[in-house]
Symmetry: C2
């Protein structure tokens, strides 16, 4: 839990910066900026759970340090519309629905659609690149950046304590599909004026060189489609408007119609085309039910599930539980990254599709994906143009933050001015100088079913034990005076190898142990249940070399 | 389970080939060859479980089709000493300890060490490249192949039904550290004589070009060591003798001693140096306790744990639960592959080491690993030199088998002669012509604690449910006549979000449901337990949007 009581007082005229998520992990990006009693939030995203967090739906940033301060929040700036930047907004607006959201047209449209599902109608302020807005003590200038979703913005924050440039997620595609470049002219101007702290996306800092242009992918996809006799299925991220644009164009160029599959794909592309971010030639899009009636060589299905998510369209096609059937002559394209940790699920899907006879094209065997993040070479350009006084790498695991820090140092920034910190670091800035003054303990807030923050790491440890070892539950009613068993013992087990007949072995041992315990005067139900736990535990560990969870219930009568 | 009853009778003079593991997966490689009532086994390895198989220690090939035939087995040929080729030998020798093992000196030494832990002393026949052995109706010639462990052999099998060349695992390093090349001269001769069926390692068939030579790694490791001020830790596979050799040489060249860490590393390298496969310069090896007393710049720790295994040395160093402490000035080298599915655990370790200040060198940022398997270019060489009549890709997921098949077809082998099959395929060969005649259902044999084959896929499904949702157990004693609760209800839950106080909500509902059930005449304990299950199930699903496992126990009094 967050320990705010230890926080040093914030001096007047100083600004306090606290990253609450996204440093030391890929996801749940969120940072707070405080000066003169007012708080500005930049991004509020979710983190997706790992295999060590079974059953968890989402992980939120740790709001605790601002929970009591929500009345002081002047607004939440959303840099772009990806889940790891906007996904937690509904959970903070649940606490205070009237906190204004500030972002670009597309970003706000996507977050509003999400909030609608939570029955929240937010206060919003739509901004565009070049625009300047005053929010209390914060003067914000928004700068166009290029990313794997349109209309992304960096934000330049000016306060009495100093200035900060926060990139959000970005890269520097020099031939972007929409012509909207990362605005290096603005970077140059802001650099001239002097940037005190540069908070820079670290995701691809380990990757040498430059991220290739998104434009390279279109011709590859068009070529694959043109060489396909049968139907084509393309899976990608449901928010990757430019990727989908290129699939639509490649399909149209081959005289094929496109059917959008998957709830989020349909919803997001609906929004994108309504707002003019996605340009769909007349009559190319077709409802998927109608599409199923078209000849195979006249259709491209644009679907979700590129990460092997079991419930998504692509996995259901692979497991033959979807109306779309693929086989010989058909091609499936995974036009997406392979997020670390998803390898097994993705290759399970790829193997299943290949087994059905389909030709499967993916990142590993064709150039059907480029990253959305600036590689090392691009970051160097930024450092050289901006020449910031200080740098704080953001967005990434420690290895990414450290790699980004090394690049900053290479560009000439002094070691002491490169702040490699983790979630909960408390950075105070005065007269443009930023230094860490404290460290908050930052926890994981788990969304699990209808609960938020109820599930603890202890529950997850229980779940991991249950997964590895299963459990044994034993119930019995015992005569307090004698330790004789009156009812039961009822022994049940799940996920534990042998069938329940094996427990006949240990029942005499339990009877004996209970009688001895009572004779020894340990006759309350807690003591007796511990006796049962120990007896079964010893037996199962030695005889079966297993350590299942043991749930003993002993009632006295 | 294996359905052997459906197997067509094997005609006299025909050979039956059944891959029991390793086709459609990476691991548990095993194939059986039968002719004239005698069976030859090639390899008997284990498969390591995925995250979808929690708690499982090992997965064995499905022996069922030969369980009743072990008296007919003339021997088990072991192509090399990796776990995925020898790991299941103890489990088959448990069934019949006197089945002879045939393999090279190092391979047999490694399997004997393993069998010793199972208290089994095997019958062995040591063979070398060029050697020919008659085993009943099988004439075996052994051929040197190069792999990521020394002394690997391919086996050429001659029978009245035709000939088979089985590569085991191999690559074609043209500058092997030990000078022992994959014997293309023998391949050429056997090709001239005519190979009816070529069973070829598919692991790297998707990888274009050629696997670089192992020799490339030595200079990189030596350079990293020479630039390190503090201590060096190198993690790799505990059977990779040549990798360890290069680490030892690089350490010696930098005036450092080497301490071997980890049980399997110490054991395997002991065997390898005893038998002369590992050459240790006088006085370079040092006991790790002594090593801890040396100055940092005089030591290299050679450890296990390159896959992020939580109990291995490297993970314990990273979590500061090991005597070796790393920090600034120290370097950790992961001189190994990153096996798909291990990404999260490996990067967890890498991030932890970087956080400690160590410089971490791994395959993604330096050339410290080469694969042990032939890439597409090498496989083409084989097909062109051997010109086999028929091909069966082995060792790999479906995507690997299909990629290997494509290479075979490119080399000119007719589609019908390329047999892409999975575990349990029954291939009969007569007059050198091999065709699939049946398909066995092949199951997973799970080793779990002390049990072998007891845990079922249903148990694993239970475990996954327990992991995702936890469970609720409820116990109560009910008066049969009235449905009144006499004892309890005792409700317990684990891995389920809310604390147990929430169950107070549902107790009245349970009381009501029980009374109604009894009034409706459904008063036996099974019926009542189902009533309890439904009542709790409905409540937890609607109120908490969760689906935990529910274990109701109702006893009548």
């Amino acid at each position: 839990m967050t320990k705010t009581e230890h926080l040093p007082k914030l001096a007047a005229g100083s600004m306090r910066i606290i990253p609450l998520g996204g440093l030391g992990e890929v996801g749940r990006n969120m940072a707070t900026f405080e000066i003169d009693g007012k708080i500005l939030i930049v991004d509020c995203g979710v983190l997706f759970p790992e295999e060590t967090q079974p059953g968890v739906d989402l992980i939120l940033p740790d709001f605790d340090s601002i929970r009591a301060r929500l009345d002081d929040v002047v607004g939440i700036v959303l840099t772009h519309g990806h889940e790891d930047h906007i996904g937690a907004v509904p959970y903070i607006l649940r606490l205070k629905p009237d906190i204004p959201l500030i972002g670009s047209t597309l970003t706000l449209a996507l977050v509003e659609a999400k909030l609608k599902e939570h029955r929240i109608k937010p206060y919003t302020l739509t901004v565009a690149e070049g625009q300047v807005e005053e929010l209390g003590p914060f003067s914000l200038e928004f700068v166009a950046v290029n990313h794997s979703i349109p209309d992304a913005l960096a934000v330049h924050i000016t306060t009495d304590a100093g200035t900060v440039l926060h990139t959000g997620d970005f890269k520097m595609d020099q031939l972007p599909l929409d012509g909207r470049l990362t605005d290096l002219r603005a970077f140059a101007r802001l650099g001239e004026e002097g940037i005190d702290l540069f908070m820079a996306d670290s995701t691809n800092a380990e990757v040498p060189g430059f991220t290739p242009t998104e434009r390279n992918i279109g011709p590859v996809i068009e070529d694959v489609i043109s060489r396909t006799k049968g139907k084509v299925v393309v899976a990608s991220f449901s928010s990757h408007v430019h990727r989908v644009q290129q699939v639509i164009d490649a399909a149209a160029a081959n005289g094929r119609r496109v059917a959008l599959m998957g709830r989020s794909m349909v919803r997001n592309m609906g929004i994108a085309s309504e707002l003019g971010y996605l340009n769909v030639p007349q009559g190319v899009l077709i409802d998927h039910k109608k599409a199923l009636k078209l000849p195979d060589n006249e259709i491209v299905f644009m679907s979700t599930g590129s990460q092997g998510e079991p419930m998504a369209v692509l996995s259901r096609i692979a497991s033959k539980t979807h109306a779309i059937e693929v086989g010989e002559d058909d091609t499936v394209i995974l036009a997406s990254s392979l997020i670390p940790g998803n390898e097994n699920s993705v290759f399970r899907v790829i193997n299943a599709l290949i087994k059905l006879g389909a030709n499967v094209v993916h990142k590993a065997n064709a150039n059907v994906h480029v990253s959305g993040h600036a590689a090392a070479g691009e970051l160097l350009y930024c450092y050289n143009i901006l020449q910031p006084r200080q740098v704080m790498p953001v967005h990434g695991e420690i290895r990414h933050l450290v790699a980004n820090a090394e690049i900053a140092k290479k560009s000439g920034i002094a070691d002491a001015d490169v702040l490699v910190v983790e979630n909960g670091a408390v950075i105070d800035m005065k007269d443009g100088v930023a230094r860490q003054v404290a460290q908050l303990d930052i926890g994981f807030i788990y969304v699990d079913g209808s609960t938020v923050g109820t599930i603890t790491d202890a529950d997850l440890k229980d779940r991991r034990i249950l997964a590895e070892e299963g459990f044994i539950s034993i119930f019995t009613v015992v005569e307090a005076a004698t330790g004789n068993i009156l009812v039961g013992p009822e022994i049940h087990a799940r996920g534990f190898a042998p069938d329940e007949a094996v427990f006949d072995d240990i029942i005499p041992g339990i009877q004996k142990a209970l009688k001895e315990a009572v004779e020894a005067g340990n006759s309350n139900s807690y003591q007796l249940s511990q006796v049962v736990r120990r007896t079964i535990g010893r037996w199962v560990n030695t005889k079966h070399r297993r350590h299942p969870m043991i749930i003993p219930v002993v009632i006295e009568a």
